[in-house]
Symmetry: C2
Subunit: 205 residues, 2 copies
DNA sequence: CCGCAACTGGACTCGCAGTACAGTGAAATC
DNA sequence: GATTTCACTGTACTGCGAGTCCAGTTGCGG
């Protein structure tokens, strides 16, 4: 069994697009099955309820997001060995990627579930939590590596700094959604980049 | 008519608390009226539908948020005349305020509506938009005043920098909700503060 | 040929939003 | 003192979407 029915994947694609556009609650099962051209019963064959759908969506989303970060910062590291400079390159790449996405980044999935969490069970909420903690660890590691070479010129909480990447992306995406603009997230990333540049460069003593 | 029935305000209070805790869709009219001890019909006497409730909540929330910013940065300005230092004081006060709120800040209202926007009509979405644009203008003005005295040591887009305050607050609140921690927003504000400190201080040329 | 995976179809329950509308008690207005 | 208006209550009804139950179908692999 190489692929476990492409119907399931199709349902996830349609659901994800709709959830990102309108929110989870506004996305009806009716409409998902209409898009996938299967019956309502077919949907419930694949997902026991909307919670199961949400969980599957989140899992898939987190996986692709992690792969994206892996690729992006690996590529950045190839371009420059230095931890600080490769981080700056990575953030630039991330910002470019965000502004090139016409419909906006799917990053919203995290925020979207965070703000409707009572609709979901503990499992979904925990997935969300683990994903953000994962990013905290990922970026804190990278920042520690930088700090080992370049003494930060201000004392900073490394966990908070690690979180700052997620925070800036999520915050930017909130603005983007609310303002109906399209490059706020990318601009905010560039400001974060500017901060890191200043933070990790030698200052007069 | 000095007060226009306190029932309306009670409904808004109960609704706001519930929306912040569980999200808008998960908050039923049934439950609001139970809390306020009135009948369902009573609710519809005050609000024609859930959209009207959302709009009233947002309006009230934006007003109090603006007053809060007015007070806070006015107080900061009293403590220090200098635009940069009063900004730094203001952000510190904001961070302290955020971490002192046991239940978490209501700032989420903006993000909550942004992520469920198809549930709302154009009026609600526009209110949201105007509020964020208002904050952009407010903070951009303050940053321009600072920049007139302290040359920023990196070129920055002033609109984006103005947005950064909202972005950092919203992003921090998303993390806070998702992680079930309670001072992420305040930590993120402190990192923004650290950025501004570095950005607007003279560097070696 | 059997069995299982991947469905379809139909009927039903439940909760929630929203509508309609008649009625009521108290206070303000004439 | 009668009348109007405000701020509701109560009942009854529509409609939608989630979720359940279950019987039946189609195709494929052993």
């Amino acid at each position: 069994m190489v692929e476990k029915s492409d119907t399931r994947a199709r349902l996830l694609n349609i659901a994800e697009a709709s959830v990102l556009e309108k929110g989870f609650e506004a996305t009806s099962i009716e409409e998902i099955v209409a898009g996938a051209e299967i019956s309502r019963s077919g949907f419930f064959y694949h997902f026991k309820d909307k919670n199961a759908l949400a969980r599957a969506m989140l899992e898939r989303y987190i996986d692709t997001e992690n792969e994206l970060y892996d690729d992006l910062f690996a590529r950045a590291r190839e371009l420059n060995e230095d931890p600080l400079h490769s981080m700056l390159i990575g953030l630039k790449l991330l910002a470019e990627m965000l502004s090139e996405m016409p419909t906006g980044h799917p990053g919203c999935v995290i925020a979207a579930t965070a703000y409707q969490d009572r609709l979901f069970d503990e499992g979904v909420r925990d997935l969300n939590r683990q994903a953000i903690l994962g990013w905290r660890t990922r970026f804190r590691g990278m920042f520690e590596e930088i700090a080992a070479v370049y003494e930060p010129c201000e004392p900073v909480n490394m966990d908070a700094l690690g979180d700052m990447v997620s925070s800036v992306v999520e915050g930017g995406l909130v603005l983007q959604r609310a303002l109906r603009e399209h490059n706020n997230a990318s601009e905010q990333i560039m400001l974060l980049r500017s901060y890191l540049k200043l933070l990790f460069s030698p200052r007069p003593s």
